[in-house]
Symmetry: D2
Subunit: 366 residues, 4 copies
């Protein structure tokens, strides 16, 4: 059961509103004996933090994480880890306009309908600011994974902005950190910069597609049938703000393949079976194969734009709404570190779950 908790054994509960005193994550089920302090987590937060380029919100948040519990002498103790990030740059007055009116395409109206009241300041709980808590928790997950599965590596990047997809032929992992879009295609990165500048100046925003890949994932992770690794990844990614689609491996394109094409054929390599392709995205029957785990998700455009849109308010009056405030023209950009964090949490969770269920039993081949 959960409302605000994610995970089976590595359980992350995020809390906090955009303009409250703080946000954070309660991380329960973290294994003991892992080296951890704020300095281990902070770099991941710095990657997501607002105000790093003109393409993200100009809100200035240091996003400094504090560990309030669960760590002693620089080591996790197996008790709950409380991660707190204070909110420092709230400008709630920017949000007076949406106190009663509902931004089209935004959660304003559904929170009002469900709860009868809502913290409208900056979107309250539905703000993408919550994802900082996820990234902090992901930092903990990464620290544990680094100790338990040293070779595991998680990399996220943007593969499409609006209708503009990268050219896979130009894919260069070294480029990802070199532009404000986490874009592995340097040509696309330049094109996107112009495109997004234009949109921003025209008071518009745009969607994106993010890909997250994990390599070095051991075979055997995933708990069929309803806690399959892909099922949990789908849940994890779809829970991120603005996400409307999740794909594993070939994803939607798998529908267009024939069985002959889709079969990831297997040969024996020096260290056991090897797949000749990876249409499956590293997951078969909900269980990892040992190949790279490949997940993509689509992010819709930011709803908060300066172009007027038709809407109503709580009194049932019709109006045209312009959303002021400091918003990302492409929320997909900052979703990259969030997707990585969700991948890290999900993989660690399944590592622990598998350890609990099978004790690491593995069937021999060869």
């Amino acid at each position: 059961m959960s409302f605000n908790t994610f995970g089976h054994l590595f359980r992350v509960t995020t809390w906090g509103e955009s303009h409250g005193p703080a946000i954070g994550a309660t991380v329960d089920g973290c294994p003991p004996g892992v080296a951890l302090n704020e300095a281990v987590i902070q770099p991941w937060l710095d990657r997501r933090k607002p105000g790093t380029s003109k393409f993200t919100t100009q809100r200035k948040e240091p996003d400094e994480v504090r560990i309030l519990s669960g760590v002693f002498d620089g080591m996790t103790t197996g008790t709950p880890i409380q991660l707190m990030i204070e909110n420092t740059d709230q400008r709630s007055k920017d949000y007076g306009d949406i106190a009663q009116a509902f931004r089209p395409g935004h959660a304003d109206i559904t929170y009002h309908q469900k709860y009868g009241l809502r913290d409208y300041r900056g979107g309250g709980r539905s703000s993408a600011r919550e994802t900082a808590s996820r990234v902090a928790a992901g930092g903990v997950a990464r620290a544990v994974l680094a100790q338990l599965v040293p070779g595991l590596k998680i990399t996220g990047y943007m593969v499409q902005m609006g209708a503009k997809a990268i050219d896979r032929g130009r894919f260069d992992a070294a480029q990802i950190e070199e532009n404000p879009f986490w874009c592995p295609d340097p040509v696309a990165a330049i094109e996107w910069a112009d495109y997004l500048d234009d949109l921003r100046l025209n008071h518009n925003s745009v969607g994106a597609v993010i890909e997250v890949i994990a390599t070095g994932v051991p075979a055997g992770l995933g708990a069929p049938l309803y806690a399959k690794l892909d099922s949990d990844l789908a849940s994890a990614m779809m829970s991120i703000n603005a996400v409307k689609a999740v794909e594993i491996g070939d994803g939607l394109a798998a529908a267009t393949l024939t069985g002959v094409e889709n079969a990831d054929e297997i040969r024996m390599g020096p260290n056991g079976p090897e797949f000749l392709s990876n249409h499956a995205g590293g997951i078969l029957g909900g269980i990892s194969t040992g190949q790279p785990v490949v997940c993509r998700f689509a992010v819709k455009p930011t709803s908060s734009i300066l172009t007027p849109r038709q809407t109503v308010n709580t009194r049932g009056e019709e109006l045209d709404l312009i959303t002021k405030g400091r918003h990302d023209p492409c929320v997909g950009i900052r979703a990259v570190p969030v997707g990585e964090a969700m991948m890290a949490c999900t993989l660690l969770d399944h590592l622990l779950l598998d350890r609990g269920q099978t004790g690491g039993i593995r069937g021999h081949i060869g």
Copy 2:
């Protein structure tokens, strides 16, 4: 926590293997006082059952459901409902070939790796036969929904086979039950028949895209942030065999939209706010808006084909494998009633969850 359980309050645990004595579902958390007997559930199973056309497996299973508990005098009692479907047409000898060899693209290898052993007969637990249990549980969910939310209606259909999509201009809901593909486009249905016949005769298979729509869903369902309605639907659909992608509303296409285009603008109608479009697929911030809930998922092609594919066996020997047995050339077809069942279970679950959390509080507009 779950391995084989789905849902928060309406909890469905499926059990059983393809060639064991029976399969079934333990349904816990069903509200009391709902009229239920086998005749209420059986029609849904009949829609999914094998052997109904040449386009589905020729295995002959009556798929007769028995209710073993939780119902008294034709009414649910609030106690667990045990649904059992006996397996009657197992031909385990067909599976001798895959006892030791792994079908490429199939869960054979990952079950072996994770568990050290597996029931290889008919795919065992990873067989699509398990989805009959889901459909039975979905029948219970539908009976409850019919009583609690009379206007709610769930409809699934296939919108794409291989690369061949329907023409939305020809969409005719009345056609869905008129062809073996649950296809709302009568022209596409004819085309698909030829295409699939061809593939089948060529010992091949193909993927598909299914769409499931629920209308009459009350606003306010969904428990942010990690039990969002869309997040749980993604998990539900991705847990179905062979599914590789899930979309809500515009799905992947949302990435290509601008904020101006994507905004579902709102006007006041006679009964409250009305949306002028439904890019969101009926869900904003993880909570239902009252518009139709729209979900799509992509199914990969059947891995079990008569065309030889390269693989290895448990002894590490390389071989070319042909999968005999009675397999669906397009598993997407029978995934339609399964998708509907998962939609029904998810919506009921969130109806109960919302009742538990908010007691049906709703914010007024107008």
Copy 3:
């Protein structure tokens, strides 16, 4: 979340009513690779089954368990194990009297109040018959424990019937299987036989206290703070029909001790630390110490007696009710194997949970 499910990772969902077609347990999370078949489980059921002496209900139930899933070639596969026990000797006509009337001291009235309707036949879901499902699941847990922790041993026995307690000076474990009361004190056993005979002939019943001890439990099991081993044992035992109190170690008597008396002092033995006493009942801070885990629970007298008691019926009419049917004069007797089963399930669950969380990390002493 659960209504009818017990356990974190080793999850047992029982289902079924006293007079329905069958009862059973869905066991999810059982590790793979454990030898299991019906013959392994049946002996535990035979210990609990009705009609074995004049001191238990004369209902004749063979209580034969069938495994419907989760086992292949005599080994668990890691998938859900469905255990089914058919009901064969229902005499529902015996229960006409309680269809509308509520037995004082029984769940009749609360089930009616909560659910609006109930399966009154034989107590329906609230019947102690449900505990057969627990014993079956406990049989699975014992088989797994036998493989994972060979030295672990669970023993239950009755230490008090009515006000008549055993004399601990006469405690002889060999006696437990030698009398119909699972009584370790042969003198008390004889006294109890006369006492219970008398009560039975006087249309009365009586309560009891059961003790369950587990030896060979590894140190380190238990997940503080809310899934402590003692907290979960308390929940497990209190969920058994008619149980009104649970004690760990010295239990209530601990309240009367001083800190000086209560301290289980520690010395170094040849294999590590040794405790000089066991007031704690093998659990400190919710975590097992390696000493015997000692749990006791009190069972109230059977409510279904032939002596008339004042009550009302659903129409609000007052009446004097005599409960016919075949009831145990001391339900505590058959609660002994049930308590053992709950101990087995709880210990296995915590073994898996600890494996998931700590991976079996243990702090060194010495």
Copy 4:
């Protein structure tokens, strides 16, 4: 699943160590629209806080709670409520002696064994200081209950210190707040003061029995079979530090009753059925009857005493340990508000759970 979370729908996760920067509780699943602020919670904390009499620890903690999220404009919003209490009076140097040595009767040794390391300062996570977080969460639960079930009242008090029980004939609820022991018997209160003074001066401590009663509880709360109200209360109370036994209604004494005596007979009163006695403690079949819910628990004596006790340290050396620091001579005293808090959380949780499952269906009588 949980390690540090309590509850099904009203979910409380406590976090924090005795000598870390702060402790707190993450409360998820709180219904929206309930008036809440720090002033509503603080009085409950003040009742539990240390240093209020010479009979509790002399640690001076203001125990001021801060609400960091989930409340807007003085109302709950349905999102997670973060409650933080800063630690201000840590004297970690007092604990140098137990950094390596294990207090007999304490969780020191089991935490070391399970986790391989532990925050030894003040007992770290196993300190009774954690119960302040429970009391804070209980304050939230009480605020919700006050709104949803106005007549519900929860009262805790001590009924036994060491072997000295109150005289039920002198029971006077008005006395409970008049002495430092929450003792309803003014004569016993005086006697206990002398007794405890003596023990304290003799470097000793003692156990106690606490009773918590809830009146005005609606009939129908409790989710059989494994989330029974009594089963969940047992788990809740047993999870409190130092608790070794839990009783419902007559508890252990129920074992000594006959069926004739134990039957709570029923007559029709002006407002429906009335029970003539309450041996059941307000719970039948795991479901509340509408009578007062009566729960008792036994607390063992404090392990941290100034009298030397034999023990070992992490190096396996034997030693005699005196525990300095500021400890309660009878932890039972401060367990009273904690027991009340656990009762409040459990009742609210079951109110929400029942609403989710049955929607408040109730069977009519009369």
